[in-house]
Amino acid sequence: MADAMTTSGAAAPTQPAKTFALPGDPLRPPDTFVDVRTQELQINMGPQHPSTHGVLRLAIWVDGEIVTRADPDIGYLHRCAEKIGESVSCIQYVPYTDRYDYLAAMNNNLGYCLAVEKVAEVEVPERAQYIRTIAVELNRIASHLVAIGTYGLDLGAFTPFFYAFREREEILRLLEWICGARLTYNFIRIGGVMRDTPAGWVEDIRKFLDLFETRLDEFNDLLTHNHIFVARTANVGVLSIEEAVRYGLTGPNLRGSGLRYDLRREQPYLLYDRFQFDIPVGTGIKGQVGDCWDRYWVRLLEMRESVRIVRQALDQLPTGGEIMAKNVRHLAFKSKAGEGYLGIENPRGELGYYLISDGGANSYRSRIRAPSFCNLSILESMLPGTMLADAVAIIGSIDIVLGEVDR
């Protein structure tokens, strides 16, 4: 709502109407003191606003350009995820997980499948695990590319967005090649993956990775070290580790504050314990540790680490072998009773699924721990005191996906 809610919206005056009288005003008694008071303005940002990354609505109270209070209003994309999780069988539910964090659909598939495999006790073949790793890490790169590109857009730099999408299209081509979809893959299935690698796929990934590493430097030239970009992001939205942990932030937002915490390292799932990779953290190169620039920088570095992981996975990919576990079809009818929580490292943080199964085909309760939901909750405490333009920079640096916030 660009304008409707602001033009006619309820701008409840938070202070009494201003009184304004000059000392020489003949209409006023001479002892009336001059009382010039400003009034807080309530403005409405979203759900249709270019920089709210979807349909986030923020009610913002501003004093001039300074934000004094912010109240995020979510739910404009609530799609009944958890109810559907109870209403369809777990095999049917996999495509729905694509649509929550649609920028990292592979990761969502993986999180759900791992959780179901944990509850239903399914062993996944090794080759499938490698293919999963490759797909997930490629998807992580694609997701971070969108995050960086749209972050540039938020700050008024249009061109990096197009460069980011150019690289992303290459990744989408690779993922489409293996599963036939550009955005909602439904590729990682319970017990394995949908299909084996097509001929030439592995070689094309290698070619792409070589090209991509050189092109990552373009972002450094265009955005990272740009003076205006640094001025807009460094020392803006500084987040300490304690604050981040208290608000339950995970992923690049937490690592941007300087805490080396990555579930791929803390609680290795898939085969992450077989790969060498670093966990980049914010170090405050341009400003303080934990500012917007650090969060951006962590994402940029993570893409390089993902490239490393994909390379190693491609090297170790066993030739031949099963890609699907035996006997998973029965999950469409009955499962083992039990409950379990499993968290994985999504590009946005800890994506967790908590499933309760009573032995039927549908899970009795399927709860999603959406990283964006938790990350977004910090806005309320971060925005007050910043400027309006900084608010946009902070929202962009938190990198939310509304599909996941609202589910």
């Binding site: 249009f158 400027m387 333009a389």
Partner: protein, 374 residues
């Protein structure tokens, strides 16, 4: 216009008053036609250039391979779009604001000399007139932002007002440096100063001669500083990135013209591109030798063909400066409002003041580059 009136009087025997009226109408029509064609071209250039920066193709379906008619289609569509005035707006101000905003850019065209012969209005206070009249645009923007009854619009308008007032000072101060050197506020005379022959013979016979002063941008280090300051300040004046805060899309939706649609919106469009031309043209005239193609070598041409050539050179320089504006827009992120103010008040104004002061000192000593060298 000034050359047209005696021509009509002499050749066709018109009365002075009717000749004056006729030539005035002709000038206005000429400026309107030019500004429309120019805006169409500039928008097309912007779309194609941005596409080029962004590894895209840009418009290539509408009007041939290069999408040349794209802007015409846009204009046609905007003209036939519903004219929407919000219910709660101040209807009179809302309707008038685009015209007022357009006035500033439009009036500035009157004083621009395109070639030695093509000038709508050759006034002695050309520089002063342009600086003064381009500032009118902000009133229109303020009216638009206020009358829309939309908070985003109001924000955009207030930012524009603050920004324009702050950047008017350095841009005017920067223009004072060449005025100090040439001793004239007349744009034609400023260009004439830049192609003044080195041997002092004013009525040249040959086609090519060396000029003494050359383009003012290279006249002295301080004029060069003034040129850079003027160009940066002019970016802010015509709301181009990185100073596009009044319409900052990712912050203020569309800034002051959030509520505007159709034809009224296209007036703001015209104003922006008209302003872009005006500032580029002023920079080209004052600092880059106007219609003279080379810095220190001047051409002595007249007649129809000579004027056509000079017009081409002048437009080419303006288009180049415009292209630089487009280039900057699609490369740089947007600045924050306090950073814009800091840049204006803490850097540009002191620098331009210092340049003016040093230029005065240099002129007093009669040196151009460094004391003792020239």
């Amino acid at each position: 216009m000034d050359s047209l009136v005696p021509f009509l009087e002499g050749a066709w025997g018109w009365a002075t008053s009717s000749a004056f009226t006729f030539s005035m109408i002709l000038s206005v029509l000429g400026v309107v036609a030019f500004i429309s064609v120019w805006a169409m071209f500039a928008v097309w250039l912007e779309r194609k250039a941005s596409a080029d920066f962004q590894v895209r193709l840009g418009p290539n379906r509408v009007g041939g391979r290069f999408g040349l008619l794209q802007t015409l289609a846009d204009g046609l569509k905007l003209a036939f779009k519903e004219d929407l005035i919000p219910r709660d707006s101040d209807k009179f101000l809302f309707a008038v604001a685009p015209a007022v905003a357009f006035c500033g850019a439009f009036a500035a065209f009157a004083a621009l000399p395109f070639t030695p012969a093509i000038t709508a209005l050759d006034i002695n206070l050309g520089v002063f007139f342009i600086v003064a009249v381009t500032a009118i645009g902000v009133i229109g923007v303020l009216m638009a932002g206020w009358s829309s009854n939309n908070k985003w619009s109001l924000y955009g308008a207030m930012r524009e007002a603050a920004q324009l007032i702050s950047y008017e000072i350095p841009s005017a101060l920067a223009l004072m440096v060449p005025v100090l050197v040439t001793g004239s506020l007349n744009l034609k005379e400023i260009v004439g100063f830049q192609c003044l022959p080195s041997d002092g013979v004013l009525d040249k016979e040959g086609l090519v001669y060396l000029s003494d002063h050359g383009w003012l941008a290279f006249y002295s280090p301080w004029t060069f500083v003034a040129f850079i300051v003027y160009y940066i300040a002019s970016l802010a004046e015509c709301k181009r990135a990185p100073f596009d805060l009044p319409e900052a899309e990712s912050e203020l939706v569309s800034g002051f013209h959030t509520e505007y649609s159709g034809m009224r919106f296209s007036f703001f469009f015209l104003e922006e591109y008209g302003m872009m031309f005006v500032v580029s043209a002023v920079a080209a005239l004052v600092f880059l030798g106007g219609w003279q193609p080379l810095p220190f070598i001047s051409l002595n041409m007249g007649g129809f063909l000579g004027n056509l050539f000079f017009l081409g050179v002048f437009l080419a320089k303006s288009v180049f400066l415009l292209w630089v504006q487009i280039w900057l827009r699609w490369t740089l992120p947007r600045m924050r409002v306090d950073q814009v103010m800091v840049m204006g008040y803490k850097y540009l104004i002191p620098i331009s003041l210092f340049a003016l002061l040093m230029m005065a000192v240099y002129e007093h000593w009669g040196v151009r580059y460094l004391p003792g060298l020239f």
